[in-house]
């Protein structure tokens, strides 16, 4: 039996399968890497929720953008609301060349604003249209998702699920230190 090449062939097949599944333990099937990373961020053109200011992605050139997709009906978005707000305040205080932008998807202005008020979001918030154009352009398939865009408009990282303070700090530090960032 030990000398039989057929036996070792079978064992090799078994070993391959076990190795494959062991690898499977290290990956999360729900986390899909975005093809937009290291590609230019799709443009958007939105009006501030609650009226007024118009914002295009191009206007944010030179700054690191923390683009967060959320919704009032999304439970996990509650967890990250204060983290994003705190980051926004921190950037203002320390003069970091970074902006937090929040785009609500599949939502209504009234519900979105109520959520924003309840969780104290004061940074720039806008609403994706009913067709979901911006979300589709960004390959959105759930909320919350956060994109980190550098000063030249290239997406450098996509966070699926609620964002943490650690991730924001890491990404913003890395991207703001890159050439092209202006204060």
């Amino acid at each position: 039996m030990w000398g039989s090449w057929k036996f070792w062939l079978v064992m090799a097949a078994v070993g391959l399968m076990v190795a494959l599944f062991t690898y499977g333990f290290t990956t999360d099937p729900k986390l899909v890497k975005s093809p937009l990373v290291n590609k230019p961020a799709p443009a958007f053109d939105v009006t501030r929720l609650g009226g007024g200011e118009r914002l295009r992605l191009a206007d944010l050139r030179g700054q690191t953008v923390v683009l967060n997709f959320w919704a009032s009906w999304c439970a996990a978005c509650r967890d990250e609301a204060h983290i994003l707000e705190a980051a926004h305040k921190r950037f203002q205080r320390e003069g970091t060349p970074a902006r937090v932008i929040g785009i609500a998807v599949q939502d209504t202005p009234a519900k979105a604003m109520a959520f924003a008020k309840r969780f104290g979001k004061t940074y720039f918030l806008a609403l994706d249209n009913e067709r979901g154009d911006i979300g589709l352009n960004y390959g959105l398939y759930g909320v919350p998702e956060t994109f980190f865009i550098d000063g030249e408009g290239i997406i450098r990282h996509k966070q699926i699920g609620p964002v943490t303070r650690k991730v924001i700090d890491e990404q913003v530090r890395a991207l703001s230190a890159a050439p092209g960032a202006k204060p």
Binding site: V32, K33, S34, P35, L36, P42, Q106, R131, G132, D133, G135, L136, N137, Y138, G139, L140, Y141, G142
Partner: protein, 170 residues
């Protein structure tokens, strides 16, 4: 004709011509609604619902799927080809959005491996069956050394055969 009409007939003629042109343009190779529906359903069946497990955008009523379906419809009406529409979604979501991988590179391995395996295994079975038969034929041929039969033996054989035939299979 009244003087008003005489003055305004060029404008009327232009308007009529414009209307005729518009009508012709709308009748020209635009897709019928059936064609649009057909392409929409076919494309929607090739894209997976990103928030569901095993079903297509076509079969799903999830909000993201509905939005994708509407986007596909708009892209069809804009005149984009099936390949362009699929390429758009792959560029935003990744190859993961397609329900079956493209038939190139690693995807090609997936598509041809099963058929190949069946053919190879089938070929091996045929080979072993024929090979074992050839081997047995060769063995029996080698073992065959028929000596000529004597008259008595021939007669006995004939008698036995006749008895066998008469006996039937009862």
């Amino acid at each position: 004709m009244t003087s008003t009409l005489r003055k305004s007939w060029p404008a009327l003629a232009a308007a009529a011509l414009g209307a005729a042109l518009l009508l012709t343009a709308s009748l020209a190779p635009a897709m019928s609604e059936e064609e649009v529906e057909r392409r929409l359903l076919a494309l929607a069946d090739e894209l997976r619902c990103p928030t569901c497990q095993a079903i297509s955008v076509k079969d799903s009523e999830a909000s993201f799927s509905v939005q994708i379906k509407e986007k596909v419809r708009r892209m069809i009406l804009e005149g984009q080809s099936d390949e362009e529409i699929k390429a758009y979604f792959v560029s935003r979501y990744g190859e993961w959005i397609l329900r079956a991988p493209k038939k190139e590179g690693l995807g090609l391995v997936l598509w041809i491996l099963p058929g190949l395996a069946v053919l190879v295994a089938g070929g091996w079975i045929v080979y072993t069956v024929q090979f074992s038969r050839k081997r047995r034929d060769a063995e029996t041929a080698a073992a065959d050394e028929p000596a000529p039969l004597s008259e008595e033996e021939q007669e006995r054989i004939a008698r036995d055969l006749k008895r066998f035939e008469d006996d039937d299979l009862a």
